[in-house]
Structures are given as structure tokens and as C-alpha cells.
């Protein structure tokens, strides 16, 4: 499956990457890496020669803390590419920029439903899979996805779920369902002022609609009305609507006890995550993550090449690089979100942690967000703002 050369190549990336960033955060597997180091240094020289000539620049737009930056720096240096690496904190930001068709980015990471929206607007460049030989390492489950048949515009980046992260020392009984955060006589009342819902309305709508047994993508007035009434009743008991940065800090400090969160963020708390340091051993034992039993929204992030990209060759080369199993593995153990191509190369405890690698049988049962029309989004926004104003 994976040849030796690839392994060395990637290990080189990892080791050199660590050398750039310092090895302070590297905790386990140190021996393995050390032993490879000598050969790796040799090989890395060849790598530089062997690499095809790429355009001098690459502008990347990705979520914050969502890759191993050392590896990116190393690749850039190795290929003589100047990388501009910009980050965003919400879907809105990336879609707003990409829908212009003149964003100036050569590569971006976009979730499944906005991806369809962008593809429909015609602001994405087609992906040439021939230029991404490492695509073969992507498990079949993540090829030819429902939201992008034939991988015309996208290649899988990472995936996960939006559920509940919670403090298992303070909260009891354990969190199992949306009902826990929507019903006052359960955790909602008990932990008043210590619970947060997600700032992204798609996620919070989804949670409310799933709890109500409705389609989480519904845009029917009666569904939205009911969801908003539910959320309005919930609101006085909440600490607020929190974004990644807020709930991660709040859960860690104990200010929040239950937060509506992405699995990878919670995994990042459990193991600690960074964008330069690799850590594997557990850090916070008292944080747990649950996919509520009623079901939850699942999502997949994908590489896309925006329209107007000037450095398409380099973009493909970069995708290919990240899809290298060991690079994917390094990214996975860095940010604690799963990179499918690297599954076989991550340490066992991470591979088998359901918080990071959502079990496949579970993924099949979850809900996926559907792309909405502007009309539908506006309708949802109107109800949502009513909640905000309440």
C-alpha cells in the first residue's frame, strides 16, 4: 500500500517540521522518529530535486488551528513556494470570500453544504485527480461523496460531528441526549448559566430540529417556528452562544459545563491541540464528548480550488502532499481532527478514539446539512434573529 519512499518522505517532513518548531510538544513516538532522522535528512535532499517546478505562490484559506503549520512551512521551503496561509473562524467568512470569484485564494477548505452552494454558483475550479496520485490513499467511503459526485470540485480534508462536549467531573448523570440541554428539569435547569449552544445557526437549528424529531434542514415555517420557540425557552438558561474559541476556553476553565461543539475541538481539549506541536497523551481527563442519541449533524471539510486561482498546479501539489498518509497522520495527531488518508498511520489510541474518528457505522446514521437557497437562508435568519433579539 504505502511504499518506503513515501514513508521516509513524510517522516522527513515531520522531523524537519519539528526541527523548525522545536520538539517541545512531541511526547510519544519519539524513539521511532529519531531512528528515521538520519535517513530522512538524506532523502529530503533528493525530494527537493525531484519535486516538479511549481508556481512561486500559493494562497491558502483554512480554518484556524486546522493543520500542522510546520509541515506546511517545510513543504513551502522544500518546493520554493511562498505560502500565504490565511485562516477563518466561521463558514460565513470563507463562503463570503469564495463566492466573489475573485478571492485571490488558490486553495480553501470548505464544508459539504456550502461547497455545493459554491459549486452551483460556478465559483470553483475543477479538481484534476490525475495530479493528485495520493488520492488513492483516501478510503473509498470518502471518495465520490454525495455532495460532490465524482470529486469534480473537491477532495476530502477532514470530517466529524457536532454534538455535546461536557465536564464529566461536574456533570451528572452523564450527557446522552439533546433533551439534556433542552429540558429544564434535566441538565438545562440544573446547570443554568453553564451551558452554551453553538453560534453557527445551522448547528443550533439542527440540534433543536433533531430534538423535535424534525428534519434538521427544514425550512418550513411551522418547523422553524417550533424550533425557535424551543430555543427561546432555552435561552435564559444558557451562558450564551459560543464559538470554538469561547467554548474551548470556557470548558477548560470550568466556566462552561456543557457545550454544543465540534468533536475535534473537544478532542483537542482532551489531548490538547496546537498547530505546531504534536501531543498524543491525554491532557484533560474530565472532558467528554457525546453524540446525542437522537442523532446529530455530521459534516465533512474539503479542499477546493476557488475560481480565479492563479496557482492551480501548486494547489494540486499541496493537496497531494496533505493526502500523503504520513502527512495526514501528522496533521491528525496535531489538530485532533481526522484526516482520512492517514488513519492507518496514527497511533492506535487515537485511531480507536470515537471522539476523533467517528465510527463509520455511526456516520451512516447521522444527518447531513443540505445546501439552502438564499431564500431559505433568509427565512431561517429571520427566525434566528428573532431569537437573538429575544
Amino acid at each position: 500500500m504505502v511504499n518506503r519512499r513515501d514513508v521516509f518522505k513524510v517522516a522527513a517532513a515531520g522531523v524537519l517540521g519539528l526541527a523548525i518548531g522545536g520538539v517541545g510538544g512531541y511526547i510519544s513516538r519519539q524513539g521511532e522518529m529519531e531512528s528515521l532522522k538520519k535517513e530522512v535528512v538524506e532523502l529530503s535532499k533528493q525530494l527537493g530535486v525531484a519535486a516538479p517546478k511549481l508556481e512561486p505562490n500559493l494562497n491558502i484559506y483554512n480554518w484556524t488551528y486546522y493543520i500542522n503549520r510546520n509541515i506546511v512551512d517545510w513543504w513551502a521551503k522544500e518546493n520554493g513556494v511562498q505560502i500565504v496561509y490565511d485562516t477563518f473562524e466561521s463558514v460565513d467568512e470563507v463562503v463570503a470570500k469564495l463566492q466573489t470569484g475573485t478571492s485571490g485564494y488558490d486553495l480553501a477548505v470548505v464544508s459539504d453544504s456550502p461547497l455545493q452552494e459554491l459549486a452551483n454558483l460556478g465559483v470553483l475550479e475543477p479538481i484534476d485527480l490525475k495530479k493528485i496520485p495520493n488520492f488513492k490513499y483516501v478510503p473509498d467511503r470518502f471518495k465520490n461523496p454525495r455532495y460532490d459526485p465524482g470529486n469534480k470540485y473537491s477532495v476530502i480534508y477532514s470530517y466529524g460531528t457536532t454534538g455535546l462536549g461536557w465536564n464529566n467531573e461536574e456533570v451528572s448523570p452523564e450527557v446522552t441526549a439533546w433533551a439534556d440541554v433542552f429540558e429544564v428539569d434535566r441538565h438545562l435547569g440544573k446547570y443554568k448559566g453553564k451551558i452554551t449552544m453553538h453560534t453557527d445557526s445551522v448547528e443550533t437549528y439542527g440540534a433543536a430540529l433533531i430534538y423535535l424529531g424534525r428534519d434538521p434542514n427544514s425550512t418550513k415555517d411551522e418547523d422553524l417556528r417550533e424550533a425557535i420557540e424551543l430555543l427561546k425557552k432555552q435561552k435564559p438558561y444558557l451562558a450564551g452562544y459560543a464559538s470554538t474559541e469561547e467554548y474551548m476556553a470556557g470548558l477548560e476553565a470550568g466556566r462552561f459545563l456543557i457545550s454544543h461543539a465540534y468533536n475535534g475541538d473537544i478532542a483537542g481539549l482532551m489531548y490538547a491541540s496546537d498547530e505546531r506541536e504534536i501531543t498524543i497523551s491525554k491532557k484533560l481527563e474530565h472532558i467528554s464528548y457525546t453524540v446525542p442519541k437522537e442523532g446529530a449533524l455530521a459534516w465533512a471539510d474539503n479542499f477546493v480550488i476557488p475560481k480565479g486561482a492563479k496557482n492551480i498546479e501548486a494547489a494540486h501539489a499541496f493537496i497531494n502532499f496533505i493526502l500523503d498518509p504520513i502527512v495526514s497522520a501528522i496533521c491528525t495527531i496535531t489538530v485532533k481532527y481526522p484526516f482520512p488518508a492517514g488513519r492507518d498511520y496514527v497511533p492506535e489510541e487515537i485511531r480507536s478514539d470515537p471522539v476523533i474518528f467517528t465510527p463509520e457505522e455511526l456516520l451512516g446514521k447521522l444527518y447531513w446539512a443540505r445546501p439552502l437557497t438564499p431564500e431559505e437562508r433568509a427565512k431561517r435568519a429571520e427566525y434566528w434573529l428573532e431569537l437573538m433579539a429575544a
Partner: protein, 294 residues
């Protein structure tokens, strides 16, 4: 006489040509990069641009009627007015005594007082806001001190509340109230006050009957300078408020960037601008053109 001379002579002779030459470049710039964008907003708001950014000639008022019939929007709109109103009031309550004190009671080093007052406003708006976030944070030393002095028994949560938004607004806009007030009080003929007291008015009566009415222009200028920008505030509620403390600026942003419904967003934007402009027009009608000479 060369062509250049003829041209120069023509320009020299015609004032209108001179004016045109001076005005054309800045006006073209403003027209293209300030007014034309609002034309596009207008087109969107009347549903005259479709999703593929093509202009269609079928104007419609659907987006306006949608915004106007939308209770969520009107709620947030009212909240913005309320926040801005409270902000003006607090700025006046905090600012008037300060301006009055410096203008009337300080004899020496008035300039020093005023410069001391202005120094915090030299710091950029964003940093000032951030500095306030440091105080409002639950983890701040401010809370610690209050806790250790047993004034409170649990940390005050101000961050991400209406109070935080208003406090930070007052912090940022106070200068806009104090400076026009101070300028006004300084110009006020102080012999009038002496005249009032010779006529038997006590300090309170003098203040209410003479000083206050005479300082109305300053108050009005301060009102405009504080109210207008604070209604349209976006950064402060975004940083120190949560979604529950949204103001108009934030819902415009939300509709544009979140719902990506440029049509409704444009209608909202146009209505908001119309509101602000009518406010200014009413102000000018009431106070006169001088009111804008800042």
C-alpha cells in the same frame, strides 16, 4: 500663442472651468468608490440583480416589505436606538459635569486638563475596546479586587451582556460629548452668570435658567456626534456582546455574510441609511448648518 497658452487663458478666464477642474477628480473618485456602491446596494434591494450578478429590469419591493414586516428586525432596530439613546444619556451625565468643571472651576492649566482628557482617545478605537474587555472579563483583577474586598460574592459577569456593550460605547464615545460641550461652555459669556447672581439667582437656578439653556448647542452637537455613530455600531457588540446583544450593524452583517441574502441585506441597509440621513436632516433643520461644523 501656443495651444497651451490658449488653454491656460481659457481656464484663467472661466471660473466654472476652474471649479470643474478642481472638482472633477475628487467627485469622480467619490462617485465611483462611494456612491456607485450604494447604487449597487439599491439595485439589490429592489431585486434588480439576480444570483448570477446580472442586472434585471424588474424592480420589486418584496425585500423591503419583508424587512418591514419582520418583527425580529424591528426589535433589534429598537434595541440599537435604545442602546444609542442610553449611550448619549450616560455620556451627557458623565461628560457635562466634567466639561463644566474644567470650563468653570479650573483656573490654571485648563489645557492640561483637556489634553489629559483627550489622551485616552488617542489610542485607537479597537485597542480602547480591547482594554475595556480586560476590565469586564470575569477573570479580571477588577473582579478579584471586588471579591477579595467581599463587595461581591461571585464574579460579576459583564462581558457579553447589554451592560458591557453600553459601557464600552460610553467609554469610546465620551470624548465626542465632552469636547463640543467644553467648546460651548468656554465660549459662554461668564458675565452672564454674574449678572444672574446679581439678580438674585442661586447657583442652581443660575445653572438651570442660564448655563443649561445656553449650553444647548453644545449638547445638541454632542448628541449628534455620539448618537449617529453609536446607532451604527458594529465592532463593540461583536466583541463585547453576544448574539443576544446585536445591533443593526450586526444584523446587516449577519444577513449579508451569514444568510448571504444580499437582497434583504441591501434593503435593510438602505432603510438604515435612510433613517440616519433623515435624522441628520431633522437635526440640521432644527439646529442649522453650523451644527455640522465640527
Amino acid at each position: 500663442m501656443g495651444l497651451m497658452d490658449v488653454l491656460l487663458k481659457y481656464v484663467r478666464k472661466n471660473v466654472s472651468v476652474k471649479v470643474a477642474l478642481l472638482l472633477t477628480p475628487p467627485l469622480i473618485f467619490l462617485a465611483v468608490w462611494f456612491y456607485a456602491p450604494f447604487l449597487i446596494v439599491g439595485l439589490y434591494s429592489f431585486d434588480m440583480i439576480n444570483i448570477y450578478r446580472e442586472i434585471t429590469f424588474t424592480p420589486s419591493l418584496v425585500h423591503y416589505s419583508r424587512v418591514l414586516s419582520w418583527t425580529g428586525a424591528s426589535g433589534i432596530f429598537l434595541r440599537s436606538l435604545y442602546f444609542a439613546g442610553i449611550n448619549v444619556l450616560l455620556c451627557l451625565l458623565l461628560g457635562y459635569p466634567v466639561a463644566y468643571y474644567i470650563s468653570f472651576k479650573v483656573k490654571k492649566y485648563k489645557d492640561v486638563y483637556i489634553i489629559l482628557f483627550i489622551i485616552p482617545f488617542w489610542v485607537s478605537f479597537l485597542i480602547r475596546t480591547y482594554a475595556m474587555m480586560g476590565l469586564l472579563d470575569e477573570r479580571s483583577f477588577f473582579n478579584t479586587i471586588l471579591l477579595s474586598l467581599a463587595i461581591i460574592d461571585s464574579p460579576i459577569k459583564i462581558m457579553y451582556t447589554d451592560v458591557a456593550v453600553i459601557l464600552v460605547m460610553v467609554y469610546n464615545y465620551l470624548v465626542m460629548m465632552v469636547l463640543p460641550l467644553y467648546a460651548n461652555l468656554e465660549k459662554l459669556d461668564k458675565t452672564l452668570l454674574e449678572a444672574a447672581s446679581t439678580l438674585g439667582a442661586g447657583p442652581v437656578r443660575t445653572f438651570l435658567k442660564v448655563t443649561l439653556p445656553l449650553s444647548m448647542p453644545g449638547i445638541m452637537a454632542g448628541f449628534l456626534l455620539v448618537f449617529i455613530p453609536s446607532v451604527g455600531e458594529f465592532v463593540i457588540p461583536e466583541l463585547v456582546g453576544g448574539p443576544s446583544n446585536y445591533m443593526v450593524g450586526n444584523i446587516i452583517y449577519e444577513i449579508f455574510m451569514g444568510a448571504r441574502h444580499w437582497w434583504v441585506g441591501s434593503a435593510l441597509s438602505m432603510l438604515f441609511i435612510a433613517f440616519i440621513l433623515s435624522l441628520v436632516i431633522i437635526y440640521i433643520r432644527g439646529v442649522g448648518e453650523r451644527g455640522l461644523a465640527i
